[in-house]
């Protein structure tokens, strides 16, 4: 892929406004998505790993569903739920005047939808691997479940949580299909890097490859930065 890139036109490609817009949009929406995933996914993973209840298997299956949906179908599912005439989208629009599709929030929503399972399942795995007796020790010291989770369980499972976040972030970044189906492909608003690459590839294969390379470099750089900082801990 590196070999196939047209190096002569690369500088020009880099300076183009669509690229800069799309890259910025991709990075910000993926980051926002992973933040939401964490907020939703951490408690969910904890419940799945630590609380025994009827229907746990079903909850886990439900969480896993977006994982096995082909992205386009995920987009359709999202539309069914959050579209302007969707089950949730319609009342939402009526109440607040806000609707997800074709907005940057819609992109974030699509990302959260496809990434959440990765975050939840990776973190659940890590929580299950960790020694549960430390939770008990915290309880004898009077810690609530929340305090225990925050100060004991989560720090001990940190490598797994970071892994989950990396997976979720990367999944968001590379997401193509759900986003374009649910949100369209508007430069500056919903045109993420994969969408831009898709469009560019229609007319200029080389430019598309150059864009892919840019995206690769940026994301690997971000991953490299993140990982050693966090996984160095234990």
């Amino acid at each position: 892929m590196v070999a196939a890139t047209n190096w002569a036109t690369l500088p020009e490609t880099l300076r183009s406004e669509p690229l800069q817009q799309a890259l910025w949009l991709s990075v910000t929406t993926s980051t926002a998505a992973v933040a939401f995933c964490l907020v939703l996914g951490l408690p969910l993973a904890w419940v799945l790993a630590r609380v025994s209840f009827r229907g746990r298997g079903a909850l886990r299956a439900l969480v896993t569903v977006p994982l096995v949906l082909p992205p386009v179908v995920a987009g359709v599912a999202l539309r069914t739920a959050f579209g302007r005439t969707g089950v949730i989208g319609e009342p939402l629009l009526a109440l607040t005047g806000f609707s997800f599709p074709f907005t940057t929030w819609g992109v974030v929503l699509a990302h959260v939808f496809v990434s959440l399972p990765f975050v939840v399942i990776a973190i659940e795995g890590a929580l299950r691997s960790a020694d549960r007796d430390f939770d008990l020790a915290a309880a004898t010291l009077g810690a609530t479940r929340w305090t225990t989770f925050r100060r004991v369980t989560a720090p001990l499972a940190m490598p797994g949580i970071v892994a989950g976040m990396v997976l979720g972030w990367a999944r968001s970044l590379g997401e193509f299909g759900a986003t374009i189906t649910f949100n369209g492909n508007y430069p500056g608003t919903t045109q993420t890097m994969p969408n831009l690459i898709y469009v560019t590839r229609q007319s200029d294969q080389d430019a598309a490859l150059a864009l892919s390379l840019v995206m690769l470099v940026v994301s690997v750089a971000v991953l490299l930065l993140l990982r050693d900082r966090w996984l160095g801990v234990p």
Binding site: P101, G184, Y186, V199, Q202, S203, Q205
Partner: protein
Amino acid sequence: GGDDQAEGQQELTVLAAASLTDAYEELAATFTEQTGAEVTFSFGSSTDLAEQAADGAPGDVLATADEASMQVAEDAGVAGEVTTFATNVLVIVTPPENPAGIEGLDDLTGSTWVRCADEVPCGRVALAVLEAGGVTSEPASLEEDVRATLDKVISGEADAGLVYATDAVAAGDAVETVEIPGAEEQTTSYFTTPLSQSEDAGLAAEWVELVTSEEGQEILVDAGFTLP
């Protein structure tokens, strides 16, 4: 336009089938020259775009590569007057220097060749062309869209592929083109319509006008389209 800016800069948003990318970007330049309005595209598959338009996606004009998709928009009541503005014929493309020596439909038999899946517009056309040509050999793959078909040939994975003439033009030197006699009997048509959610119906109408004008048609022909 779909995305009006405070200072009154006019904007036009077009939802267009991905196969129109090259031609439409050129048309946009002309349009901006003539009207001063910025053009923004949301390119995608015709199916997606029609559904999005039906769901109220911001946009002034919709352009699809098949009638079925346009019907979706019409059924949803977001379409205005529908115009056919271009057609596209199938050609055979091969990698440069045509390693498998493909000279016509008959040579496909015995080579690794690809075409679009039956379900997508270019596949339906291909099916008709092949039937007319009496070809019974099976392709190595039924591609999701015409772009993927072209891609297999450019990359050398396939010895030949059935794509639109526009794609062959867009690919330039990356492929060699073999015309199919009688292909013009089996074309696919492109449809366009102003959308009811347009906030500037005048501008939308101007775009449709440009596309069907002589100047516009010239650009389309340059890109490999034929005229209806």
